[in-house]
Symmetry: C2
């Protein structure tokens, strides 16, 4: 798109000065795109009304490349934080939005990112209510980093806590794992597959709300396995409850070509990042009902029960493999895929 | 200090993986330092209770150098956001805290920053309730960037709005301007003065609260002139109210050696950043009372009435100079001091 309202083709240090160029960027791109009564106050902060319990979550996004199959850093910055707020059993309502831009970023790329943020924020039913823009010199950043902090109202029926988890509780996931990490990895490595692997970056707040409307305090935990992947998150839960987790590899939703890509690159899909996947832990008595409910929802079509809580091997996650062997799923050590979100 | 609980001397990409090294950094440094019931939930978000109106503000801090006379990037990240929330007429209560660290940052430096954050958060009476840590490769960041997003309860007596500003209203500042910018500039240029110029980085929330307790809705506006300095902020206010602002140079609190340093470097103190300064706009009938009140407060000892609102020259800020001439104060164009906050 033409950026006729901004007087240069690229972001300069002046755009971070707090002076006229900052004002131009704000007025002609950011405020124009996100215009709403909160942001239009043009103060350094915004005032919103709330009653009761609020869930708050923050994330900085440093993904590279900033544009990838299935999304871009802007979409990710909205989905990531919307989902983290939702995982608290809350309905996300507002986001703050802070950019750290490297001098030289094309204004056209910046506009594309800002417009993506607007689009997915609208889809997710959240408003951008306050923000910040900083610029760093060439070589002191990497195109653009984005922080979003989100807050939402805790669902009146929610009673999410690891403390409610008991032996026998079932663990469900809403869909295919490892899509996001492998999309990024393929992009970086220039790999070609029969069909494109796309990031699963999406909002999960509507499915979470519908689950809470339907099952309320029978839902014991939501958790989204982003960085570190499913394996790391299961390990964290296992440690938090001092119980074991048993999963079956055959139950874990994994697309064939994602599995093939992992194999080719020597990566374990259990540790590959997701951006549209979440875990639900529920009492075994309602597990199949929750499963069916999820499978009938657009964000849970490929949902599955992947395993359960056990007292057999406290603090350990054990997976039965496709061929029937058992192995301990250790937490990820070191870095598998840097800057995946 | 010894960092015996972390298994390396510097931050590595693994510390941003979401896996074991991230966990180590979190458990042994971050959670250990900030431990509180919210953060100890160890979820991706926190749940807090609120009633009524909430002020929200976000800022990313990219200052260089990260340690400077009178503070460091961690202190600044707390003060900056605490003050932005306070400027909304609110009492800051909670902060989120997100790090983007460049691979290679010394763990000892990171610990120093984290401890500074803890110290000034305690002093400012705010809790760190949720956070995030990302790591980028060497040369893709610059030591450390910090985002804080702050939440506070709007003071029950506050009724802050540019719309309440009338002709004749008086403009006060709480103290010396241009200290922060010149401290950073001296540090970068290796300048030596008779005595050290220190950043004015400090929290302003207690003085703001006391002013609201005492004068309530008679306070029409608070605003802190950080990036862009006093001149840019006055210009913004003038535009927002479509009225003129008249100030006298002789009334503006400016330390002699800061003035000298500005002169030496060819900088106009009106555009130099502050981190402990704020403007108050009030009805002329209470201006001297507010002034005395501020001067009796530890954060307002050097307060002064610097000018007033006028209908004479709408959308223009005019300053009478020391020698009696008048000049238009234009907004800052371009970048005066990059990465000042």
């Amino acid at each position: 798109m033409k950026n006729k309202n901004v007087s240069s083709e690229t972001i300069t240090l002046g755009h971070g000065s707090g002076g006229e160029l900052t004002r131009e960027l704000l007025d002609n791109i950011i405020l124009k795109t996100f215009s709403n009564p909160y942001l239009d106050q043009k103060h350094d902060g915004s005032i919103v009304k709330f009653e009761g319990e609020i869930a708050v979550s923050t994330d900085s996004f440093v993904i590279t490349p900033i544009f990838f199959k299935g999304g871009n850093i802007g979409e990710l910055a909205v989905h990531g934080t919307v989902n983290d707020v939702a995982m608290c059993g809350a309905i996300p309502k507002y986001l703050s939005l802070a950019f750290i831009i490297e001098e030289g970023l094309k204004i056209s790329e910046f506009i594309k990112i800002v417009q993506s943020i607007k689009k997915v924020a609208d889809e997710s039913n959240v408003l951008i209510i306050t923000g910040d823009t900083k610029v760093v010199e060439r070589g002191k950043g990497d195109k653009i980093f984005i922080n979003t902090t989100g807050f939402g109202e805790v669902h009146p029926k929610a009673n999410i806590s690891v403390q409610h988890i008991n032996e026998g509780d079932k663990i469900l996931v809403n869909g295919f794992i490892a899509q996001h990490g492998m999309a990024i990895m393929s992009e970086r490595e220039g790999l070609e597959f029969e069909s494109t692997i796309e990031s699963d970056s999406t909002n999960l707040n509507f499915l979470v709300k519908d689950l809470l409307d339907e099952f309320g305090d029978q839902i014991k935990l939501f958790r989204d396995p982003t960085r570190g992947g499913l394996g790391t998150v299961l390990h964290e839960i296992s440690n938090a409850i001092s119980k074991g987790i048993f999963i079956k590899e055959t139950f874990i939703p994994l697309e064939k070509q994602v599995a093939a890509a992992c194999e080719m690159l020597g990566l374990d899909p259990l540790y590959v990042a997701n951006e549209g996947v979440f875990l639900v832990i529920v009492d075994p008595s309602i597990a199949t009902e929750v499963l069916t409910f999820m499978q009938n929802h657009i964000k849970g079509v490929n949902a599955a029960i992947i395993g359960e809580i056990t007292n057999e091997h406290p603090n350990k996650v054990i997976m039965e493999s496709l061929i029937g062997g058992k192995r301990i799923v250790n937490p990820l050590v070191g870095e598998q895929l840097p800057r995946i979100c």
